[in-house]
Amino acid sequence: MNRFFALRPFAVALFVSFLMSIGGASRSQAQTTPAIPRTADGKPDFSGVWSSPTTVNPTGPRGQGIFNQDKMAPIKPGAENLLYQPRNGDPLHDEPRAACMPSGFPSGMLYALPVQIFQTPKYLVIVHELQRSTRIIPLDGRPHRTDLEPTYYGDSVGKWDGDTLVIDTNNFKRWILDDYHYTDPTKSRWHTDALHTIESLKRIDEKTISYRITIDDPKIFTEPWSQDFRMTYHPDWEEIGLLEYVCQENNRCVGGNCKASNP
């Protein structure tokens, strides 16, 4: 018997021991991972009513639902005026939502009204209380639609990367980026029609979605940049559910010119 065969039982025992230690480690890891609801096919279940995303890096007390300028990529030379638009007194330009135009994405996603998420193996549907806008995101691996006119909410497709849902969106029209104008009355912040976004949603515990948005707008920024937000699960809001939101119902003072109330 040569030396290799003499050592073989020891090598096998060592290998088995190694496998057992791996199994033990993964069992131990599984035990420390918070339990999250899952769908029948084992995917994380995002169904329910959630607060809108709040940033983990606020710029100030009114910065909960806006991007932090300090954490953006550098602006390309000459592109500052694409990102920031001085007010000119026209509500459709200064704050389109004030005139009941769509908030769009990502602005509408970050607005401080809740969303309700519905999930099937084929679709994730995000219903916003704000303007009752709805994003229907296919999860079946289909590519982006082509030959569409650019839109306020873009064209979204989703896919799973482990327990993280990754939503890729393109085909935007130039529109307001976020509610920056809540923090600066002199101007608003816009994206271009080259915007491409990637959202990464991960339910890190029963009550929390870690929500990351990557902004890729090559007409404005030198490179893509990402910012992190959190969404909080609100089963207490589910019983009443989302309320109706018809902006035109009683929007009395657009641009500061008030009209009589509708009711």
Partner: protein
């Protein structure tokens, strides 16, 4: 209102600072002139529990007995509801002191930034940053 009850009202105002957040579907500066503050005391005469903002109307009587109605806008119904604030809490006839900024067109409309109830009730407690979250 008697002189004594009005004095009590003022004392109540001194101790209670409550706010309806300006945060709504627009920034305050889009529609209201923050350099033109409004501060009135009167009775709630009408409430519109509607989107995109609730509106409530306050009848303000001047020293000659002339009544002027002011309209104040506040947060959307959904934001208020999730903070436990219902239409019933803005009772018709309730005396309130309201502070805000006047509409840019100079009409008797304003943002309802701060509302104080005479009896110390404090229903609009959440800060603007917490609204709806």
């Amino acid at each position: 209102m008697s002189r004594n009850s009005f004095a009590a009202l003022i004392i109540g105002f001194a101790f209670v600072a409550t706010a309806i957040p300006a945060l709504a579907h627009h920034s305050e500066t889009a529609e209201y002139d923050t350099t033109k503050p409004v501060k009135v005391t009167g009775t709630i005469s009408r409430v519109e529990w509607t989107n995109p903002h609730i509106w409530f109307y306050v009848d303000v009587k001047d020293e000659n007995g002339t009544v002027t109605t002011w309209g104040f806008s506040a947060a959307p119904p959904g934001m208020l509801m999730r903070r436990g604030i219902t239409k019933e809490q803005l009772k018709i006839g309730a005396v309130v002191n309201v502070e805000g900024s006047r509409a840019r067109d100079g009409s008797n409309n304003a943002s309802g930034r701060r509302v104080t109830f005479a009896d110390g009730r404090n229903v609009f407690t959440a800060s603007a940053e917490d609204v709806g979250r």
